[in-house]
Each structure stands twice: as C-alpha cells, then as structure tokens.
C-alpha cells in the first residue's frame, strides 16, 4: 500500500543547533502537509506544500517539497526549547484527496 516514511524517529539537539526531518513517499503526492504535536497535545497543522520544488518559510522553519513530489523536508534553524514535540508529515496521494497518509513522526528533544 501507499506509505510515507519519515526519518529520523528521534532527534536530540542542543538549543541553538539545527534540526531536519525527512519524508519519502512510495508514490507521487498531490500535496504534503506538516503537523506538530507538543508533548501531551494533539497534532496541529503547520503548512501545506502543493507545487513541485516548492519552498516555504515560517520564521525559523523551512519546508521543502521535492521536484518529483515524492519527498519533503522540514528544517529548523537554531532550535529553541519551544520547538520540542513530534513533527509529522502527511501526504495526500493522487486521486485520494480526502485522505492523508501520515509518516511515523520525528520526536525532537531540545536540551538547554
């Protein structure tokens, strides 16, 4: 079946270091979304990428969608303790517009 693989599963960084999580889909996606789940919380939408090669920024967060629309990345510059949580990518397969296929998530720990 359709899968979205996300790596790494865990990442521990010192505050101020950069962080990147990667997603790869087994099939071409219509779009990809990113969600953040704080510890004890629920997933909250961050951003959606639709176009091939698209790059979007939100302050210290940079999101990329691959040219083939099968991979994506989230990069955080100079992490802060408020960045702690699990980051999920979620792909919308072609023809499956109503569904999202979630990656397993990357749990980020930031040490002060």
């Amino acid at each position: 079946g359709q899968q979205v693989m996300q790596i790494p599963q865990y990442q521990h960084v010192q505050e101020g270091e950069d962080f990147t999580t990667y997603c790869n889909s087994s099939t071409t996606l219509s779009n990809i979304q990113w969600y953040k789940q704080r510890p004890g919380g629920h997933p909250v939408f961050l951003i959606q990428l639709v176009k091939s090669g698209e790059v979007k920024k939100q302050k210290r967060l940079t999101f990329q969608f691959g040219e083939a629309k099968k991979n994506s990345s989230l990069h955080i510059t100079a992490t802060q303790t408020t960045d702690v949580g699990t980051y999920f990518c979620a792909g919308s397969p072609r023809g499956g517009y109503n569904k999202l296929i979630f990656g397993a998530g990357t749990r980020l720990a930031v040490h002060p």
């Binding site: 079946g1 996300q6 599963q9 779009n31 979304q33 919380g41 629920h42 997933p43 909250v44 939408f45 959606q48 999920f88 979620a90 919308s92 517009y97 109503n98 569904k99 999202l100 296929i101 979630f102 990656g103 397993a104 998530g105």
Partner: protein, 113 residues
Amino acid sequence: DVKVTQSSRYLVKRTGEKVFLECVQDMDHENMFWYRQDPGLGLRLIYFSYDVKMKEKGDIPEGYSVSREKKERFSLILESASTNQTSMYLCASRKRTSTNIQYFGAGTRLSVL
C-alpha cells in the same frame, strides 16, 4: 477557531466491552476522521466520513465501526474491545474545500484491560 471535542480524555474498559468514542466539531465540516496513534507508527486511519450517513474504511478498520447520524458528530465503536486496541484515538475534521487541512481533537487515551 475550529473546535473538535472528544468526549473523554481517558477511558479504561474491560476486554469484551462495547466502547463508544464520541467526537463533535462545531465548524460545519463535511469530512470527519478517526485515527489511532501508537508509538513508532504515527497516525493510522481507521475510518472516515465524507458527509452525514457516509463512511469509508481507512487502513485499519478491523474491530471498529463508525456512525455519522448528524453532521457535527462522528462516533467510533469498538464492538468487543480487545487489549490490542489500547491506544490513543484522535478525531479530526476537515472542510470540503481545495485545502486539505485537518483539525484534531485532544485525543482519547483508551486502555483495555
């Protein structure tokens, strides 16, 4: 702000019990979803509903059923709870527009003993 409310934050049930998890959204969203979240597996789709009285199986529907009698409410039913259904259950809703943003409830942590 979109509000998705799940009836219970924590639930403890016994094996074989019938369990109802309720979800209500207040934004007139057509689509609603039930996921379960397990460590290392991310969010897996159990069932979703396009609209009232409509439902479609997700990736892991076995052991579950759903009900959508009213637009704002989507219920997940465990006909006979088993220990392998111990998990975090998340409900989400989405407006049927060109975007695909899903809004999640706070989750129900179900323990089946």
